[in-house]
């Protein structure tokens, strides 16, 4: 086997190992991201309405707010809806975005583990004031 053949085999084996290695490691990440049942039964549900150009959060008792306020340790099921155009719910510190498509309810569970205030930013261009469509996620002690 000459040098080029060795190099060719090294590339084939290396690429295969890398592909399957990264693929295998991605499975738990995808489950944590996309499986609504991954964390088990949520403590409560918050309905999130994203519209041009504001966020509205509706809590189980019927109250509403412009900021998402949850308690530390809560497991919250977000049901995200949009009446107009596509928006995207993005909390940078939580490492995910959820596209909110009109006519569909997107489900996402968040686990509040660190008290503080974090930005919720629309991450899908949704019109003239898209840049200003942001609010706070407040995780209380």
């Amino acid at each position: 086997m000459n040098t080029l053949e060795k190099l060719e085999w090294a590339t084939i084996v290396g690429a295969t190992v890398l592909l399957f290695g990264l693929g295998t490691l991605a499975v738990p990440v995808l489950q944590a991201l996309d499986d609504p049942d991954y964390y088990g039964e949520p403590d409560y549900v918050v309905k999130v309405t994203a519209e041009q150009w504001a966020w509205k959060f509706t809590y189980p008792d019927g109250s509403e707010s412009g900021e998402l306020i949850i308690k530390n340790g809560d497991l919250v099921r977000l049901e995200l809806e949009s009446p107009d155009v596509i928006h995207s719910f993005y909390v940078r510190e939580m490492g995910f975005k959820v596209d909110i498509i009109p006519g569909k309810t997107r489900i996402h569970i968040i686990n509040a583990e660190t008290p503080g205030e974090y930005w919720i930013q629309c991450a899908e261009f949704c019109g003239a004031y898209h840049g200003g469509m942001r609010t706070k996620l407040i995780i209380e002690e």
């Binding site: 944590a32 991201l33 940078r92 510190e93 939580m94 995910f96 583990e113």
Partner: protein, 85 residues
């Protein structure tokens, strides 16, 4: 020693290392891009995986560019006049 001289091997090696470093910096690695600390176990898991993909991509890209130089050096006919003299 084969076809490649020590100089060729040094160039190949340096190409891989320098490509890795350049990709690391311009790709927005830990030195240049600020990103907030993850606030949940899931966010940490996601970040850990993305970092792994990022580093793997850099290694593969550096090997790719390094191999390009390897082939140039390996098949470069040094007896052929450059046409400049």
């Amino acid at each position: 020693m084969g076809i490649l001289s020590t100089f060729d091997r040094i160039v190949w090696g340096f190409t891989i290392i320098i490509t890795f470093v350049v990709l690391f910096i311009i790709g927005g690695g830990w030195l240049l891009s600020w990103y907030p600390d993850p606030i949940s176990a899931r966010a940490a898991l996601i970040k850990q995986y993305y970092d792994l993909v990022y580093v793997s991509g850099m290694i593969v890209s550096a090997l790719f560019v390094g191999t390009f130089f390897y082939f140039i050096l390996k098949f470069w006919d040094r007896n052929q006049p450059a046409g400049l003299d």
